[in-house]
């Protein structure tokens, strides 16, 4: 029941993102979607990830979106909400992806495994992250450094004549 309510909220907010005309409204709908997703994470014993989802995604990344929107000014969709590529093609592709994903994955009607009480806490995730998964963690840090350099290069380019 809880999952039905939260899932309906998440799907409704996602539909709001792709249907709202004003990009600022899209950002606000996306924040609602992320909060609903964080609540779903809580139902899956992932307290740390729920907090990260709200702090990093709904906090920092959405503020980044709003900064870019305020720098660009209000960009109204010039000639209709949708592009020339046709929404029927997009709807068909998405329906095929949905059916394929459900058909491929929903055969596993497994029950939830028994987990200890500390499952999903900061300590357990940290032990997994800095123990057996240290190399992916370091590679992620490298990817972040590459992203910082590329963003500085792209955004600082216009100072040059």
């Amino acid at each position: 029941m809880t999952l039905a309510l939260l899932g309906a909220a998440a799907v409704a907010a996602a539909l709001g993102v792709i249907l709202a005309r004003n990009p600022v409204h899209c950002v606000l709908w996306l924040i609602a979607h992320l909060v609903a997703t964080a609540a779903i994470f809580l139902t899956l014993n992932a307290e740390f990830l729920a907090l990260v989802e709200i702090l990093v995604n709904a906090g920092a990344v959405m503020v980044l979106f709003l900064f870019v929107l305020s720098l660009l000014g209000s960009s109204k969709e010039p000639e209709g909400l949708f592009g020339r590529r046709g929404e029927s093609v997009g709807a068909l592709v998405a329906a095929l992806a949905f059916v394929g994903a459900v058909a491929a994955l929903s055969g596993s009607s497994m029950a939830a495994a028994a987990v200890p009480a500390a499952f999903g806490s900061v300590q357990s995730v940290g032990v997994a992250l800095f123990g057996p998964h240290l190399l992916p963690f370091e590679l992620t840090a490298l990817a972040l450094a590459v992203a910082v350099v590329s963003v500085v290069t792209l955004a600082g380019r216009s100072r040059q004549p």
Partner: protein, 97 residues
């Protein structure tokens, strides 16, 4: 686990529709964010149902990479806008700097 799989697939399909039919690149990046989140939801559900915490460590890394992805996308949008061109993916035909 099936309800979580179906919910994740619905969210992924919604994000795919937004990516394919919208023309504002900012809204396209937000649709990609919805698709990242659908994948994260599936991984967290799998971690819970298999009883291993490694999936949650993976989702932490995925959230980090999604933030880097969004930052690069927004920097490209800013760069295009500063060149005085219309921020419209149908009008952008070349990638020459």
């Amino acid at each position: 686990m099936t309800p979580y799989v179906v919910l994740s697939a619905i969210l992924f399909a919604v994000g795919a529709v937004g990516l394919l039919v919208r023309r504002d690149p900012l809204v396209m990046i937000m649709s990609i964010e919805i698709m990242w989140n659908a994948a994260n939801l599936l991984i967290v559900a799998a971690a819970r149902f298999y009883g291993t915490v490694s999936g949650q460590a993976l989702v932490f890394l995925v959230i980090t990479l999604a933030a880097a992805d969004v930052a690069i996308g927004l920097a490209i949008v800013m760069h295009v806008a500063r060149r005085g061109e219309a921020v419209d993916v149908d009008a952008l035909k070349e990638l020459k700097g």
